[in-house]
């Protein structure tokens, strides 16, 4: 029975190009995300006080933490699409460290926010904007990941969606004139928890093979 199966499998064995290394894959995703962000800024502009904001240490630290999340999630997603995580299991947990870094930065930014900046008049609109902005990268990620063979499809889905949402969060932070850290935590970053859970569900639906 097994021999028959092997015969039929080898009959189907044509030359096949191996998948790119996860580091290459991660760099490709980051490159596409950078182009997407650059195009968005070219089309819609950026916050007018951006240069001044970069003189605020906690704003700069927040953007740096977001960039760390971007890099960590792209790397982790690239590893999670390989059945054996390309035998670099440790790197797959990189997003945890990046999120801890973001939490620490947000905590200090919140402490430093005295007197607290005024809350903007809008609220959930930010979450919706980030989610809409993230749709394209999320779709692209899942499309690419679908062609691999993840044995951790829930985690892969979750990390992929977090990567896409981070692209959106980074865009909005550099686009929207808003200095309220409370608003940012509530409507930009906390929804990431729900996004992570949604990603698990999507991963099961899309990445299971």
């Amino acid at each position: 029975m097994i021999d028959n199966l092997i015969d039929s499998l080898i009959a189907d064995a044509v030359e096949l190009k191996p998948a790119p290394h996860p580091f290459t894959l991660s760099l490709q995703w980051l490159g596409v995300a950078a182009i997407y962000l650059a195009l968005s800024f070219a089309l819609f502009g950026q916050r007018p006080d951006l240069a001044a904001q970069f003189h605020q240490p906690w704003f700069t630290a927040e953007i740096a933490a977001l960039l760390c999340i971007l890099v960590a999630t792209s790397l982790s997603a690239a590893l999670l699409v390989f059945p054996d995580l390309h035998q670099l299991r440790g790197f797959a947990f990189a997003p945890l460290a990046a999120f801890v870094l973001l939490i620490v930065v947000l905590f200090f930014a919140w402490q430093a926010d005295t007197p607290p900046a005024l809350l903007p008049v809008h609220s959930f609109e930010c979450t919706i904007s980030i989610a809409l902005f993230s749709l394209l990268p999320a779709g692209g990620m899942f499309f690419v990941m679908h062609h691999f063979a993840s044995t951790h499809y829930r985690w892969a889905g979750s990390v992929a969606l977090l990567f896409a949402f981070s692209v959106g969060a980074l865009w909005l932070r550099l686009f929207e004139v808003n200095n309220s850290i409370v608003h940012v935590i509530e409507w930009h970053y906390l929804p990431m928890l729900a996004i992570g859970v949604t990603g698990m569900w999507l991963g099961k639906k899309i990445l299971k093979w």
Binding site: I2, I10, A13, E15, L16, P18, P83, T151
Partner: protein
Amino acid sequence: MTGKNDNLEVLMQLALKGDQRAYASLLQQTSHLLRPYLARRLNSAGEVDDLLQEILISIHKARHTYDGNRPYKPWAYAIAKFRLSDFLRAHYADQLYHAVDFDELEEMLPEDVTETGFSYESIHAEVQKLPEKQAAILAMMHQDGYTAKEVAAKMEMNESAVKVAAHRAYKLLRKMLER
């Protein structure tokens, strides 16, 4: 190049280049490698064969995710473990799906006794050998025609306890009658 002791990594590299002999050898060696692993975790040889086939197909589908530059075995075992978990999950879900609920079983058992061709009267002597409470419950249910709910009310027990007692009585009766 296709001998038994060939390096699995090299065989996969050759297979990815379209070498069918290398690929056949790799799959043969992989199945020899995985069979004992599966046999230790599954009950029947049939299940082992089925799952082994699924794993080989998965390895075939996922072979582009292996480049030959890292150890082959962890890669193959990762796929095997993944398919084994899937198989076990489906297996236990199926068992649960087909399992008869205990309450349903209790409902079914009195019917079984009455449908076996013998009446309560014909096994009266055996019923009397049961513990007093169980005998009383069976007498009320099968001689007097009370439902479990009515028996519970009469004996100041709850309905589930009556059903459980009846179920135990049926088991004891069955043993007695089988002797």
